[in-house]
């Protein structure tokens, strides 16, 4: 079943084309990677899908529905969640609050019910708390739940970002360089962890990653960007042997 599809999405900033005619297709349950040199427009693609940027051209469909012009919060509500490359936690808030906030979009009680703490709100609050604790348990942050989120070490902050994204109850999860800054052991754990959450939460995962070990290890398909253009698309094996990809990564020796 098709979850997400983009049709020729293009993003221009002034004269610069950051992404050109990107055609993505994600099927349910897949893990797909987006790779490419720095500045190739990968994060821009994420920003278009999540509504942070409106594409200059093209359409985005989520489960067949056109979401191109939707606001980011509405897109999240439909079921697309993301993490950020440069980690955007709510820095001064506790770990548990970070996760609780991501539950807010599903709160049905209105402001007055919440203020008066009516039973309906109390129930929602309780189940929010329970779910958040479960998520922290899964990502292994339950022991630090009351710490200020900015005080966590880097690896933990990345895991908290994933927990927070999961709390919005997504069906499609976009991970922006989840392994950045991790050591080999952590990277290996992360690979397993991504697979595990895909299975446990019934997710479709689309990730930007530089660690080839992670990319080749878990992705079923890979898109390769260079200067905003999709230069290759295929399974890990095809990508590894693709001449254009090798050139993009290693550079072409003009004198050869």
């Amino acid at each position: 079943m098709e979850m997400l599809r983009t049709e020729n999405i293009t993003m221009q900033f002034g004269g610069l084309t950051a992404v050109k005619d990107f055609n993505l297709k994600l099927n349910k349950g897949e893990i797909v990677a987006l790779i490419g040199p720095n500045g190739a427009g990968k994060t821009t693609a994420f920003n278009m899908i999540t509504g942070v940027y409106k594409p200059t051209k093209g359409k985005i469909y989520y489960k067949g529905r056109d979401i191109t012009q939707m606001a980011p919060h509405s897109i999240t509500k439909l079921g697309i969640a993301r993490t950020f490359q440069n980690i955007r936690l709510f820095k001064n808030l506790s770990v548990i609050d970070n996760v609780l906030i991501a539950n807010h979009l599903h709160v049905k009680s209105n402001l007055f019910e919440a203020l008066l703490r009516v039973p309906k709100y109390k129930n929602e609050d309780r189940s929010m708390m329970k779910k958040s604790m479960e998520l922290l348990e899964i990502v292994g942050l339950i022991d630090v739940k009351d710490e200020k989120s900015s005080s966590l070490p880097y690896g933990m902050q990345r895991r908290l970002e994933i927990a927070r994204a999961l709390a919005t109850k997504p069906e499609v999860l976009l991970l922006d360089e989840p392994a950045a800054g991790m050591n080999p052991k952590e990277t290996e754990d992360l690979t397993k962890f991504i697979k595990k959450i895909r299975d446990d939460f019934d997710l479709t995962i689309f990730m930007i990653e530089h660690h080839m070990q992670v990319v080749m290890g878990i992705s079923e398909r890979i898109y390769v960007f260079d200067y905003g253009i999709t230069i290759a698309h295929g399974n890990p094996n095809e990508i590894q042997n693709n001449q254009r990809v090798i050139e993009a990564y290693l550079g072409v020796d003009d004198n050869a």
Binding site: F13, T43, N47, V52, Y53, F84
Partner: protein, 296 residues
């Protein structure tokens, strides 16, 4: 309404607009480089009128007093930046804005303490205020002097920004502090220079303002300050050409509003804000502004 009266109002509007433009440039330059509303700018303008007042009061001829005024105002502007803004460069924006408001209040109240709250009469110099007659129009010389001085200053400014090293540094810093630093630009010095230029223009504006509206008091900078910031927003904040256009637009339309709709005179001070809100709603980047989008 005869066409002569219209011309007379237009001349007044242009000369008020020139003053707005001079002050608006200070706002727009500081905003361009620090992304900060320098709330104290209107008060720096006010202090300039007092410097000039005391210069002449103590017997200096105007051609000595006014340059000293400019010098003192520049020093004041630079010291405001040094004390109130510099140490907050990496602080949350809200802190910097609060500091700016604090600086503005401090200057206003210091002025009340030092100069007294009562309005003072700005010395009028015959050579500026003499009324001249052209046909049926009688107009103060000043009404012509102001736009001319403004035009000269704009030419100097544009040379400074586009042709000198400091100007280039300013443009670089306003694009990206980090990159500019890596290129070997001294950020602090460049920002200081920006405040110096803004304050110098405010000082000249202040002196001419005092000559045109010869009554000065410690809170006189508040309204022109706000209006000039609005002028900068209308023109597109960060753009010097925009500030000038915005200043003229606001000055002329304010005078015309009062001239043509006498019953609206009481609302004169609200007018600028209404324009501001309209501009922000329909074209938040102003006439000349570029869109600044946040990096995600």
């Amino acid at each position: 309404m005869t066409s002569i009266m219209f011309l007379q109002h237009l001349a007044n509007g242009i000369s008020l607009g020139s003053l707005y433009a001079l002050i608006a440039i200070g706002y727009t330059m500081v905003y361009g480089i620090l992304r900060l509303i320098n709330f104290a700018h209107g008060d720096i303008f006010m202090m300039a009128t007092y410097f000039a007042f005391f210069g002449v009061f103590f017997g200096l001829p105007w051609y000595v007093a006014f340059p000293i005024t400019i010098l003192l105002t520049v020093l004041l502007g630079m010291s405001v930046e040094l004390t109130a803004y510099r140490s907050l460069r990496d602080a949350p924006k809200i802190s910097i804005m609060i500091s700016a408001i604090g600086a503005s209040f401090l200057l206003e109240n210091l002025a009340i303490v030092i100069f007294g709250g009562r309005p003072k009469a700005f010395p009028t110099e015959e050579i500026f205020t003499k009324v001249i007659h052209i046909g049926n129009i009688s107009i103060q010389r000043l009404t012509f002097i102001i736009p001319v001085v403004t035009a000269i200053l704009l030419i100097i400014l544009s040379y400074l920004i586009n042709k000198t090293k400091t100007g280039m540094a300013m443009r670089a810093v306003s694009k990206d502090h980090e990159t500019a630093r890596l290129m070997g630009i001294n950020i602090d010095r460049t920002i200081s220079a920006t405040f110096a230029i803004g304050s110098a223009l405010a000082a000249i504006g202040g002196v001419m303002w005092g000559l045109k509206f010869p009554q000065i008091q410690p809170l006189m900078g508040v309204m022109p300050g706000l209006k000039c910031f609005i002028a900068a927003v209308i023109g597109g904040i960060g753009s010097i050409t925009g500030a000038v256009i915005g200043g003229f637009f606001l000055g002329v339309s304010e005078i015309m509003l009062v001239a043509f709709f006498q019953s609206m005179t009481g609302y004169r001070d609200a007018f600028a804000f209404i324009i501001l809100i309209i501009v922000l709603l329909f074209k938040p980047t102003g006439i000349m502004g570029e869109k600044i989008s946040e990096k995600v």
